[in-house]
Symmetry: C2
Subunit: 327 residues, 2 copies
DNA sequence: CTGTTAGCGCGTTCAC
DNA sequence: GTGAACGCGCTAACAG
C-alpha cells in the first residue's frame, strides 16, 4: 500500500495525499476529508524509508552504549529515547561492547542509516579510534557525549566532575574520623581515571596513605574479591570508596562475612547512587554522579541542535554524597 | 557522497560500484580492486535508506519492551539485539510504556520503518489491542512473542510454564514443613495470572489456605509494603512466594526489620532468578523462569523465519527452583 | 564482464 | 487548489 493506492481510491493525485499526510496548507477541506477517510479505512502508514530518502532526513537518532545491561547507562538511554519518541524520533540503541573496533563498526552502521543525531553514553567512548570514526562517518550531524569529552566541531558534552566527587568523598570519610581510606577501581576508563586522580589528590592533601585496588571486575563477585584482597593487604582499612555501587555491594557482603561491622569498623561509599544502594543491608551510601541530570542535558542539547548547524556546548555537574547507613 | 560519486572517481558505472559493494560475482578483479580502493579512500558507506527502499527489505528488526529499565526484559532485548548485529541487522528497541494505546502507536511506528521482524518481550503485550495492531500493521512479517501468546498466523511464541513453576514452589515450601504459604503478586499480567492460578491450584490440592496479596508495586518499596500488610493480615505466615525477585528483596528487608528470621521463621522465594538474588542477605532463592532460554528461542525462531514465509512455532520451558539461603 | 534503464515510495517544484 | 514530473540513492533486469 502506497500513497498512489490511496490517491487512486480517493480520486486524487499522489501529491495531494502527501500534502494531506503532512498537514500542508492549501487543500480544500472537502478533498482533505475524503483523503483522510481512505487513509483511516486502509490503516495506511506512509513509508518512512521513502520519506527519509526523499527528505534526506531520517527521524531516528542513534544511541551508543557499551552494554545495555549496565544499569549506569541504561537509565540515560531510556530517558533520551523516551523524550525523543513523542517528537517523532525512534532511537537505534546499539550495544557496542568494549572493543574499540566494534565501536567504530557501530558508528559506521549508524551512519549508513543516516541518523539525524548521535548520543554516546559512557566515558569508555573517549578514545582516538572513536574520534576518528566520528570524524569520517558522522561529521555532519550533531553528537552529544554523556560523561565524556572529545574535541570535535560537531560534538557537545555533559560530564560529571568525578574527580571532585571522589575527593569530596575522601574528605567526607576523613571527617568521620577515618584515616585508612582505600579506593577500589574497576575498568580503566577516562571517568575512572578522574576518580582515581581525585582520590590521590585528596589523600595526599590530608597526609593519608594511598591504597588503590585497580581493575576490579564490574560485578558483585568482583567486589568480593577486591574486598578480600584489600583486607589482606591493608588489615587496618576503615573506609572504602568503590567506583561502582554494585561492586561496593559485593564488597560489603564479603566484609560482613569476614566479621567486619559496617559502618562501625569500615565505612563504605559506592558511586552512582544507583538503585542497588537500597537493596543492601545496611543500605549503601553513595556518590551521586548526577546521571539523570547528565542525560537530561544531553537530550536538551541534541534536541536544539538537530536540524540546526552543529554547536559545541559543554556542561558539567557537581557530584553529591548521598548518605545512607554505611558511613 | 553516493555510489555515483564513487563510480565517477573509479571510472566505472554506478551498478558496478553496487555490485562490488554487495560482493556480487562476475566482476574482474582489476575493476573490483580499483573500486574498492576509491571506497576505502573516501570512507564511503552506501545509504541503507536507499537500499531499503529499493530492495523492500530493511535489515532492521523491532523489539518492543514496556520499560527497558526493567531487568527481566532488558536481558532478553540485549541477547536478541546482540545476536542479530553480526547478521547485519540493527534493532529498533522501543519502550512502549504500560498504556495499550502507546503499544499500538509503537507498532505503527515500526511498521512505517518496514522492519523485517518484530519481537515482543513480556506478557503485558498479550491483549486484544496489540493483537489488532499486529494484524493491521505488521501482518506480513514474522513476529515472535517472548513469554506471551496471541493467535495470529505470523506469530510464534516462547513461554515459560509459570503456572507449574509457582505450583512447584508451593509444594517445595510444603516439603520444607511450611503450612501457611502466601503469594505476593504485582501487576495483573497474563504471566502473573498464570502464577496465581498455579499457586491456587497447589494450595488447594495440599489443603492449605490461599493467601494472596495482589497489586503490589513493582519495586523494593512495594515489597516492603506488601510484607507489612501480609504480616498484619496473617501473622503466622511461614512461607512467601513473590512474583518478582526485586519485590521479594524489599519484602525481606521489611521482615528482617520486624524481627523475623529468614528462613527460620519465614521462607522466601522470588521469581525470575535475576541478578538481585545474590545481592540480598541472606541470598534469595528463586523460581528460575528460564528467561535466557526464552530469548534464545525467540532469536532462533525469528532468524529462521525472516525472509521465509511466516511460520507459527510455539515452544515452552519448564521453570526450576534455584535454592539459595532463604528457603 | 560492464553500462543503461527503470523502478522502489515519497516530497517538492512548477505549471495549470 | 490540484496534478504532472522529477529527484533522493540504490538494486535489478536487460543489453551489449
Amino acid at each position: 500500500m502506497t500513497i498512489y493506492d490511496i490517491a487512486r481510491m480517493a480520486g486524487v493525485s499522489a501529491s495531494t495525499v502527501s500534502r494531506v499526510m503532512n498537514n500542508r496548507e492549501g487543500i480544500s477541506s472537502r478533498t482533505r476529508e475524503r483523503v483522510m477517510e481512505v487513509i483511516r479505512n486502509e490503516n495506511f502508514c506512509a513509508s518512512d524509508t521513502a520519506r527519509s530518502l526523499s527528505t534526506q532526513y531520517s527521524s531516528t537518532i542513534g544511541i551508543l552504549v557499551a552494554d545495555i545491561r549496565n544499569q549506569h547507562h541504561i537509565e540515560g538511554a531510556y530517558m533520551i529515547a523516551q523524550r525523543f519518541l513523542p517528537l517523532g524520533y525512534c532511537s537505534l540503541l546499539l550495544n557496542t561492547g568494549y572493543e574499540k573496533e566494534s565501536m567504530v563498526e557501530c558508528i559506521r552502521t549508524l551512519s549508513t542509516r543516516r541518523i539525524s543525531g548521535l548520543v554516546l553514553i559512557g566515558s569508555i567512548f573517549q578514545n582516538s579510534e572513536v574520534e576518528e570514526a566520528l570524524k569520517s562517518f558522522v561529521c555532519d550531524i550533531p553528537v552529544v557525549f554523556q560523561n565524556g569529552e572529545l574535541d570535535l566541531p560537531n560534538l557537545s558534552s555533559a560530564v560529571s566532575r568525578d574527580d571532585e566527587g571522589t575527593a569530596d568523598a575522601v574528605r567526607f570519610l576523613y571527617g568521620k574520623g577515618r584515616r585508612t581510606i582505600a579506593f577500589v577501581n574497576n575498568n580503566d576508563t577516562p571517568s575512572n581515571r578522574k576518580k582515581m586522580a581525585g582520590y590521590r589528590k585528596a589523600v595526599s592533601q590530608l597526609g593519608l596513605k594511598s591504597i588503590i585496588i585497580p581493575e576490579c571486575e564490574d560485578s558483585a563477585e568482583g567486589g568480593e574479591k577486591a574486598a578480600e584482597k584489600l583486607i589482606e593487604a591493608e588489615p587496618g582499612v576503615d573506609g572504602i570508596i568503590f567506583s561502582v555501587d554494585l561492586i561496593a555491594a559485593g564488597g560489603m557482603r564479603k566484609l560482613l562475612s569476614l566479621g567486619r561491622r559496617i559502618p562501625e569498623d569500615i565505612a563504605i561509599l559506592g558511586t552512582d547512587n544507583s538503585s542497588c544502594c537500597t537493596l543492601t543491608t545496611p543500605m549503601l551510601s553513595s556518590i551521586d554522579t548526577r546521571l539523570p541530570e547528565l542525560s537530561a542535558a544531553c537530550f536538551d542539547i541534541l534536541k536544539t541542535e538537530i536540524g540546526q548547524k552543529q554547536g559545541r556546548k559543554n556542561v558539567s555537574f557537581e557530584c553529591r554524597i548521598v548518605e545512607r547507613q554505611t558511613t
